[in-house]
């Protein structure tokens, strides 16, 4: 087993941490903008969603390991929800149209919270993998001590 492939699990777990962080950021923005009716693009804020894709590390791509090989994860993109905004009746709102309706973001805060719990759990799982790796390395180091 080459040196590169021994430590590749750290970069794989690291990619997991980064991806979950990006997801957490998107969720935070969604919750923060749950009532935003004005955006630079115009209209109400649209929910963001992070798309994950698996990726092979350079050591694995160079053919050191046969396929299927363990892969890291990356953020393939952040997409905006295409769901129509919710229309609520609020004639006093400065952004209300002639009929007194305001278009507000189609964001369910409870749903975002659940997504956040899932992201936090995934993040912790990647941390656990790193912790376990550290245990294994220190154990291996102690063999010849």
């Amino acid at each position: 087993m080459s040196f590169d492939s021994v430590f590749s699990s750290l970069s794989v777990s690291g990619s997991g941490l980064g991806a979950e962080q990006a997801r957490m950021k998107a969720i935070a923005e969604n919750i923060a903008n749950a009532n935003t009716t004005r955006t630079p693009e115009g209209g109400p804020y649209r929910r963001q969603r992070v798309i994950f894709a698996s990726v092979l590390s350079s050591a694995m791509r160079s053919g050191l390991q046969r396929s299927p090989a363990p892969a890291g994860v990356r953020v393939a993109g952040v997409v905006r929800s295409t769901e129509p905004p919710i229309s609520i009746f609020d004639p006093d709102h400065p952004d209300a149209d002639k009929t007194g309706h305001v278009a507000v973001p189609n964001i369910s805060v409870p749903n975002e919270m659940i997504d956040m719990i899932a992201a936090a759990r995934s993040y912790e799982a990647n941390l656990a993998a790193i912790r376990n790796f550290k245990t294994m390395v220190s154990k291996a180091m102690s063999i010849l001590r």
Partner: protein, 117 residues
Amino acid sequence: MLSGDATLKVIGKMLDGCAARHNAIAANLANAETPGYKRVDVRFEEQLAKAIDSGDARQIDAVRPETVRGTGAARPDGNTVDFGTELGNLNRNTLVFSTFADLAAVRVRQYRDAIGE
């Protein structure tokens, strides 16, 4: 002679296999939310058991951990990773690795005692 010690060879192969399996589990956990991802697993135990049964040190040398597509039911998004199972595998794998690292340390200690270090 240390290099001809079949016990150490077997322990070394177990450590190799566990390290490779850790890579697979880390990848599965990193991709737990990736749509369409299929979990990977590492196979080497059957190969190692056969090599031990043969009693041929060269066969033990030839054992290589093999990364294979793991089994598991797919979720609606096509992903086959189960979080709980994977975390369980992670901890078990580390425990097995630690046990065999301890065994290796004992073996090395025996040699040290034998040469009176």
